[in-house]
């Protein structure tokens, strides 16, 4: 698990969402259950570690989703916040560095 970092990635199954800007994510919880939700596309990576493209994936694939470590539960588990705002408990071994940084859109604003 990355040290001194709260910005991490979690393995997940990625599926198309209902909208171009979202993807469905399946994450394995520490208790073995699967948590399903949606995440903005720009918080999801494909299996190659690239942020998913506009038409990617077309079916369910392995991928990763952005998360933030919020708490150390014990030696085996951490609590992470995922892009739907929920905090979930996952096995520590699943948490890894992000394949790429996620950069917010430009700070520029239109001439008003």
């Amino acid at each position: 698990m990355p040290r001194h970092k709260t910005l991490v990635a979690l393995p997940c199954k990625l599926s198309p969402g209902a909208f171009s800007g979202e993807r469905v994510i399946d994450i394995k919880l520490a208790n073995g259950q699967i948590y399903t939700s949606v995440a903005p596309r720009h918080f999801c990576w494909n299996a190659s570690g690239k942020l998913v493209g506009e038409r990617e994936p077309s079916t369910e694939v392995d991928g990763m989703v952005a998360a933030r470590v919020t708490d150390e539960i014990d030696e085996n588990q951490v609590a992470v916040e995922i892009p739907d705002g929920e905090v979930i408990a996952v096995d520590r071994g699943l948490v890894s560095d992000r394949p790429t940084p996620i950069t917010p859109p430009s700070r520029l604003i239109s001439s008003m």
Binding site: S20, G21, Q33, E60, A66, R68, S110
Partner: protein
Amino acid sequence: MYLSDRDLRFALESGQLIVAPPPAEIDTTSIDLHLDKIEEAKVWDVIAFEEQQREAGAPPFLGVGKFNHKAFAKKFAVPVPPEEQAGPDAKVYRDGTRVIVKSGGFFLWQTRESVGTPEIDPRLICFIDGKSTRARTGLVVHMTAPTIHAGWWGQVTLEIGNLGPFTLALCEGDAIAQIVVAAISSPPLKKKKAQGIAIGQRNVAGGKETEQK
């Protein structure tokens, strides 16, 4: 404390508030959000859902507590159909570049803008709201889940309904929603496990598993 136009501008310039593409103007305490491409307008295929339920020998209603994002996104969220393909009882259909919403109609449409706050040290929280002038037509927008959690950003899915007596027409680019932005009093702790509501715990005090939400 809600941000005024000058604070909204400062928040955008400093990167504490994300609105992309950037707004053309800022209202006194809000920023307009616009409807995305018409292809992003979706309706639920209720007939397909009911057929699936019938084939499975299940009752024709949706158990909200077991709502499955994946199944519904894949199977039942479909583009708003053109008028000629919509059934005679359809309350939402596409007429060229417009989505027509009859009284009682409901559908989903993504915003053009990505909205939210940065992951690192977020100090603001955003709320989606309708616009009062549009509301008088009976148009409801994003009634139930208006909060964009601090530290995330993305396009917003608007749940749009027509509770009024008129048939309404909506077009790509229409400003039918807005965000208001508030400062949070301190960074969130997000230590939900202490409150026993983190999901999937197995080794917390008492050894009690928390059920999946």
